[in-house]
Each structure stands twice: as C-alpha cells, then as structure tokens.
C-alpha cells in the first residue's frame, strides 16, 4: 500500500503505538465479565467521585480537549462541516475563558470526526489549527461492504488528509465467535491506515453481552487498534458506563500484559457535562490520570460541547446559563 506518512500531534510524545500482536485465543477464552458486578460499579462511580468549583472548571475544560467533535448524518453538507470546524477552532467563548483565567490553555477538541466524503472539506477548514480530522471509513455504520471496498475507503480517507480512522467491525463475527476473521480484518485495516491512528468501533449495543464486548476489545487490540470505541451512535444502545468498564478493564489488562497503552472512546449519548465528568472519573479510577489525554481518551460527541460551555459560563459568572447563549455546534 502506498501511503504517505502522517504527522502525529505532540502530546503523545513517548507514546508507543500498538504494534499489534498474534491472536491469542487462549487469552480470549479467559475473559470473564460479570454483568451485575459491572453494573454495580458503574452505578456508584458517579456517586463516589465528584468535582466542584475550580476543579470542576478545569475538568470541564479538559473534557473539551477530549471531544471528537462529530457530525455523522446522512444530510451532512460541506456547509455543515465547515460550521463544525469553525466551532472546533473556537470551542469556548473568549469571555468565559478569560473569566476563568484559562485563556492560555490551548482549548480545542481532540479531533473533528466526519464521513469520508467531508475529509477534504474538514482538513481545509481546520488548516493551521492543529486539530486532526478523523474519518469513519469502513462502510460506516454497518461495516458490511466488501472488505476491499472498506480498505480502499480507508486509503482514500488517509489520502484526503485524515489522521485518524474510525473503523467499524463486523458485529456478526463477534456473535458467531469468528475471532480469527475479526482479527484478520482489523489487522488489514490497521495496515491500510498506515500512520493514521485506527479506532475500532465495536457497535457494543449489538454485541449482546459484556463478555462479547470484552473479547472483541481484546481481539481488536491484538490486531493493532490504537483506540477501541463503543458505538457508531446508530445502534439502539450507545455508550454507557458498564460497557465502558468492560472495555477499559480490557485496556488495563492489555497494558498489564504488553506495556502498550490503548485509547478509549465512548461515543453516542454523552451529552451532559455531568456525564462527561463521570466518564473521566471512571478513566482516572480504572486506568489512571495518565489516560485523560487526547491520545488515550476521546468522547464521540457534538452537543456535549454546548453543555460544557454552558456549565463553564455558570462557573465563570455564578449564574446559570442557557444553551442559546453559546455559539452553536
């Protein structure tokens, strides 16, 4: 494959990219996830940790840097994508940042995430901002186009300037236990990505059990995923905390065994600042503060930004804010 090298952004200095590992089916078979126990932990994480005042402000500002600002709708147009990119360049009103004393922080989202068709538009709109463009490029959201087609789509996206590729796995491979098939596909996609980072979308809402989610996570990581991601946003069930726990714990186990740090991206349904902070607490508790960096954690979201901005304004002024006061995403 002829792919040009893509420059990676700086915060991940010293970060070793996942080189991929042989498929270890014994390991896959050892995976156990107890749903009730995960639900119990998930339901208390928000109650066990909370941040207030300036801590809350700092965490919310951090949350913005962890967003993959996303538009993935069938009616997207270049104009819509350009508006999104403009918001990405300027995610929080200056007066709010100033009031919080946070002007110097370089607050910008982790990436802008679009369909392949809009990669060029986004790259152009974000030029000079340092914000990478992520593309969903494997017959998103179903992932059922011929493999060659999907691989060609990845290559095309990378060629158009995408630095991150969000691929979708074939859910059927998980449901039928075809781990080898899944591994081979993800490995091929990873190769197609070249230097662009690969996020593997599991479509967790369609994988039936948390054990399946965990096994699929492991197979994707073994195949070379840089990120594992929950959902396309198009399934009936989007990201939630119990699924996140299952995936995050697989990331932890993978790190324990290989020393490689894999990123996590919950996507879909995370629209409030409070939810975002709970996810961050979960990451901090289960994986450590280190994981709260854009190269290891992203939210797949769009309306989340508005709520974060609104809450930041509240922190800055002491008055509750309204959504229409924030420039729309």
């Amino acid at each position: 494959m002829s792919l040009h090298a893509v420059q990676t952004t700086s915060p991940e200095r010293g970060h070793q990219r996942n080189p991929g590992f042989p498929l270890d089916l014994d390991w896959v078979e050892r995976v156990r996830m107890n749903r009730s126990a995960l639900e119990r932990r998930a339901s208390t994480i928000g109650a066990r940790r909370s941040v207030k005042k300036q801590w809350q402000s700092a965490w919310m500002l951090k949350a913005i840097t962890l967003i993959d600002l996303t538009t993935l709708n069938s009616d997207d147009t270049p104009g819509r994508v350009e508006r999104l990119c403009a918001k990405a360049r300027h995610p929080v009103r200056d007066d709010i940042l100033k009031a919080l004393g946070a002007e110097k922080l370089d607050i910008k989202p982790g990436a802008v995430c679009v369909y392949h068709a809009f990669v060029k538009t986004a790259v152009k709109a974000l030029k000079g901002s340092g914000i990478p463009v992520a593309a969903v490029s494997t017959a998103f959201p179903h992932g059922l186009a011929p493999l060659e087609t999907r691989l060609m789509e990845i290559e095309a996206s990378v060629q158009d300037g995408a630095k991150e590729i969000d691929i979708v796995i074939e859910r059927g491979q998980v449901l039928t236990g075809d781990w080898q098939g899944l591994y081979d596909q993800v490995k091929a996609m990873r190769e197609a990505c070249g230097d662009a980072h690969i996020k593997t979308i599991l479509g967790t809402g369609e994988l039936a059990t948390l054990t399946n989610v965990a096994k699929a996570s492991l197979v994707c990581m073994l195949a070379g995923a840089d990120f594992i991601k929950t959902s396309t946003g198009k399934e009936k069930v989007n990201a939630n905390l119990k699924t996140s726990l299952a995936m995050v714990r697989m990331i932890r186990w993978f790190h324990e065994e290989t020393g490689i740090e894999i990123g996590y991206k919950p996507a879909g349904g995370i629209s409030s600042a409070k939810d975002a902070l709970t996810y961050m607490a979960l990451m901090k508790e289960e994986l450590g503060t280190h994981w709260l960096q854009p190269h290891l954690f992203r939210f797949g979201a769009s309306s989340l930004l508005t709520d974060l901005e609104r809450q930041l304004e509240h922190q800055a002024t002491g008055r509750y804010s309204a959504d229409y006061r924030q420039p729309m995403v």
Partner: protein
Amino acid sequence: MNEITNIFESLDYGPAPEAAAPAEVWLDLHGRKFGQFIGGKWTKPGKTFASINPANEKELARITDGTRADVDKAVKAARAALPGWQALSGFERAKYLYAIARQISKDSRLFAVLESIDNGKPIRESRDADIPLVIRHFYHHAGWAQHLERELPDMVPYGVCGQIIPWNFPLLMLAWKIAPALAAGNTVVLKPAEFTSLTALLFAEVCEKVGLPAGVVNIITGQGETGAALVDHPDVDKIAFTGSTEVGKIIRRATAGSGKGLSLELGGKSPYIVFEDADIDSAIEGLVDAIWFNQGQVCCAGSRLLVQESIEDKFLKRLRARMDKLRVGDPLDKAVDIGALVDPIQVQRIRSLLATGEKEGMVKYEAKGALPPTGCYLKPTLITGVSPSHTLVQEEIFGPVLVSMSFRTPEEAVALANNTVYGLASTVWTENINLALDIAPQIKAGVVWVNCSNQFDAAVGFGGYKESGFGREGGKEGMRVYMKPAFEKKLKPAAPVKTAANIDTYETDGIDHTAKMYIGGKQARGDSGYARTVIAPDGTAVGEVSDGNRKDVRNAVEAARKALGWANTTAHLRAQILYFLGENLDYRRAEFADRIRAMTGATAAAAKKEVDASIERLFAFAGWADKFDGAVHNAPLRAIAAAMIEPIGVIGIAAPDENPLLAPIAMLAPAVAMGNTTVLIPSERHPLAMTDLYQVIETSDVPGGVINIVTGDQPSLARVLTEHDGVDALWYVGDVDHSAEMERQSTGNLKQTWTTRGLDFDWFDKDNLEGRFFLDRATQVKNVWVPYGA
C-alpha cells in the same frame, strides 16, 4: 485563577464537601445536651458523657449516661404502652411504620449528615446505603404488621423488647431492631451505642412527629452498665443484641433461665473466596465493598480473602493497585471512599493487632496516599504471608485490614472458609454456576453472596451460624424472632416428679441384660464400668443400663460429628428411613408398650397410646423431611436471594422422665428429619424404652452416628453436652434450675439452646409439636444471594 490551569494538568479531585450546618443547627437547638426518650417524653439530661466527631475528635454533644432507674422507667413505659399497641389492628400499626418511613425520607439528608459526623462514615455511604436501607426496612415491615396474622398464625409478640445496638451502623441497626419488633406488636426499649447515640435521638423525634403512641419506642442512651441494666431487667420479655461475640456471650449467661427471648447478631471473620474462573477485576471491586465499606467496621466484612493459587499473584497485584486508588479522608467529602474509624480506641486496638501480626511475621501492604493529620484514620491494609495459625487470620479486626491466603481446590477453599469460630457471612466469586452452587451450601455461614458482597435488604434474613449468633433480621425469618408460639404462654409448671425408689449405682455383676450405649451405630460398652439399675414404681428392678460419663458423651459427639454428612443425603432418603423406623417400631409395638408399663407403671391403654403416638410422630416428621423448605426472597435487585433451610449440626437432646419413648422421639424425629445428627440422653429413670430402640434403629437403615444414645445421670450428661464445643444445639427438658444452668454453660461455642424451664410440655400435643415448633429449632436459614445477567 492560575489554579485552574494547574488542575487542568493534574486533574486532581479537590474537596467536595457536604454541608454539616443543618446537623450542627439541630445539635445547637438541643443545647448539645440530650436526655432520654421515655414514655413519649424527654427527660432532663442527667450525668452525661461526650459524643465526639471521630473525624476531628471534637465534642459534638453530651449524652445522658442512663441509670438503672432510667432503664426501669423506660421498661415500665414500654409495658404500659403494650396493651394499647397490641389492641391496634395490623393496619393501624402498619400506618405508623409507614409514617416513620416517610418521615425519615423527608429528613434523609439530616439523618445522613448527623450519622456521618457522629460515626465517621463517608457521607456517600450514609446517604446512599445506611439511610435508604433504613427507610426500606420500615416500609417492608409496615407490610408485615398487616399480614402477620395470616402469615404467622398461632404466634404472639413477646411483649417488651430490650434492644442493644452497635456503633457501626447506628440508625440502620436501630431500624433492623425496631421495625420488626413494632410490626409484631411489641414495644421496645432501645439502647444505642455510647459512641453513636445521635441518630437514635433524632429518630425519637420522628416517633414524636408521627404521633407514635407514648411508650411504644423508648430510647435510653448510656454505656455498658446501662445495657446490662436492660438485659437484667426482670420485666423485659426479649433481648435483641448486635455487637461483639464477647458481649453476646455475657448476655447469654445473664439471660440464662430467665425465659427471655434472645437473638444475637455477633462478630465475624467472613471468608471471601475467589476462584480462578472469576471476573477478577469485579472480584477486586467486590472486595472494596466487602472490607473497605464503613472503614471495615462491618460484622460481615469479607475480611479473609481466599484466592485460588493459580491466580494469586495477578490478583494481589491488581488488588494493591486498586487499594492505591481509595481515598481516605473527611467523611463529609462526597468523593471520599474511607472515612474515620469511630473512636481513637478502635484505632489503637487495630494498631496493636497489627503489631502482633508483625511479630508473627506477616507482610503488610498499606495503600499509597496520605491520611489527614488528625482524626481516627487508618490506611487500607492488605496482609499476606499468613496462614490460619496467625492471630490476624483468626481474630476479628473490625477495621480496614484484609488478610489474604491462597487455596488449591474447591475442597480446600471450603475447609479454610469454615476454619473459624464465626459463621456470619461469606462471598464466592466464580463465573461457573455449578461451582458457586456447590460451594454455597458447604460454607457454614448465614449469608452467602455469590459474585457480590455486603448486599442487604429488608426482605432477606441476615444473621449468623456458630459464634456469630442466632436469630435473623429481615424477611419472614426475621419476623419469627419477635414472636413466640401462642401455646407456650399457656404452659404450666410440670408437677414434681415422683421419686420412687432410690437409684443407686453399683458395680456390674455380670447381669446379661445391661443395655449398652449406642454410639456410632454400634452398641458400646460404657467407659465407667458402672451400671444403673432401672427400677419400677413398685421397687423391683426391671433392668440395668450403663452409667454414662463424660467420655461416653465425648465419644457420642465424635460419632455424631463424623456422621454430619447426613445433612447431604436427600430429604427423600431421610423420609424413607424415618418411615422405616416407624414401621419397625410398629412391628414391635406390644413389646415397647410392655416395657413402658414395666418401667413406669402406666396402664396398658396409656402405654399403647404412647407407642402409637411415637409411631405417628415418626411418620409426621418423615413426612416433613422433604416439605419444610426455603423461600426465594424479593430483594430489589436482579438476583435470586434464596433462603435455604439447613440443619444446625449436632443436636444434644436431654429427654425427660415423662413419656420415656414419645418424648425423645418427639425431639429426635424432627432433628433427624432435618439432617441433624444427635446425641440423646434418654429418661434417667426409664431409659429402657430407648435402649430397646437400638435394634429398631439398626434394622431401619439409620446410618451410624446419626442417633447416639448415652444413658445415665441426665443433668450431668447434659452438662457435658452443653459445654461441648462440638455440639451445635442443645435441647434440654428439665426443671428451672437445670435449664438455667444448661443455657449459662452453653456459651463456649454459643450453641443454640432450647430448654423447657420446668414447664409441662404435653408430648401428645400434635397441634403444636408435630410441626414448625421443632422444625424451626432444628434448622437455620442461610440466605444465598445470586445476582444474574448475561
């Protein structure tokens, strides 16, 4: 605001304080000094002691140290309130319990904050665990008040209940005590622990607010002496205690022979078993619930980790990493996992235990992270390098200290789990349902949590085996603890036994008819080499039996313990054997009737009636064997909470002289039907009916050791049984003094006792003795929680 940019990098949590003000205002409103709540009125504070906030060791309020006179006044108030309270319909009582639940709901944050500043527990726990469980308990028991007569027929409330609760879950333990007591129609005098009286006092105000009739609930604050006064008070009908095993034993001795009902919820050293096929990370998170909940000050804390050797290293490594994430600090900080221990004295006690552990060579790991400079704090601690012979493995630490050992096989896990004097709770982690359901019945504990830990609910009974106490709290099994069979109240003292001829012991002289002991399925010669003559009312000798001694009892108990596998036979098999026993006795009914006549001088008709009744009783309990079964409770959780009926173990039975065949069979049959093994001391004066029964037992396929019979001096042999730590329960039929003695001496292993205290039980009474009365006493309830979900 440079701070934000710093936090942006560090992503620290920062403080998240819950305001203490409303609780402080409440304390100020009372001048930070409290009297007692007696008969619906507040007394003036008397001599007081300080209640401190263990987070900063500052005084919160002064609490009245209750005197004997205070206790007497409170018991009188409870007594006076009793008729009115019992005259109310179940619905009326339900309305009060419902109102209490609603009122606590309305004041829930005040209760939570007050609990946290008084006890030191994190606000997250008092807010999300203690108080919601309290409210749930009153709701649940409102229902029991209304359905009692239907669901527990022929049971009546005890009357005045004295309740003594610990400091670890102050308001929750109050709810566990008061809700069922009131639902059942009792009135109560409750003494909170001296460290934590405040929420009980706030609860008294709830009683006032909802208009609970005066005297139904009385709150007496004080220290150990106050509790002792309540235990000793002659007009208290029942004592319920939650606390240490040491104090539980003192209470058992103090109430011996008094006829007071008694339920004890005591200490524990609960095993936490992790098999290699568990969801390891979830099992580690479960440990946080098990041992780092409430600073580890939980009687059922999973404090003994047993992890399969194949995963031990990985498990402990991940556990230590998890421990490092626990945040210890201000209980009112919403983002704190572990608050303050209740009092400096507890911190000292645990430090001293840890010092012993160090001397014994333990390896200690303390979680990273700093402690607040002042206050009663300890770091979460993991102890490795220990075995069952180490002090820290045997003793209840009651703090945030976990001891860890490994096991190789399921069998070894069970052996280690049961290698303790306690039996309160246990936890089992495995994804294999076959393994989980194999292990759960084998653990001698009142609660088994599968793939979870420290789950509680008002609908599910909670309570211990062994030295963790007896009685249950929660569920239908918990309601039974606050009621007693109506017929017991009508029993009259037994007529003094006619002492006919003097029974001397003398050396054997080779008479062939000397009946031997029956031990381990064999006729065994007595150890003493002495025999006793059995004399008929007319003074003639009708035979001889061995004069049993300590060693015979010891041998019998050993045989009974070896036969404990009887519990694992199917109920159908036990039924068959009891039916067969009845059938074989029936075959020899004439012979047994003649023997009864010869020994007791009974009429032919009376003797025949006794034999017939004995056969009928065997059939009755054969019929019960596979029908007295458990329940599945409705906990508000996606789980099966199965209340399993299990035998107690070895039951010692001392039979009376009356009805020398029927009385022992009336007790043996339920004990054996439920899977217990037994050591019987038959009638001292008329033992031959039971020694004759050996042959019937032998021909009826009763496995050796299930029924053991030792003849001789009834009270002295019973004393050996009650003092034997291998006997799990003692049923004693005899006079007041001996009954008291048996109860007093039972505390070595805190065995469950039932004594007749000289009351005249009618052994022919089918209505009352052919059913639950003995079945309840022959069994204990184990609740197994199994959450599920694909």
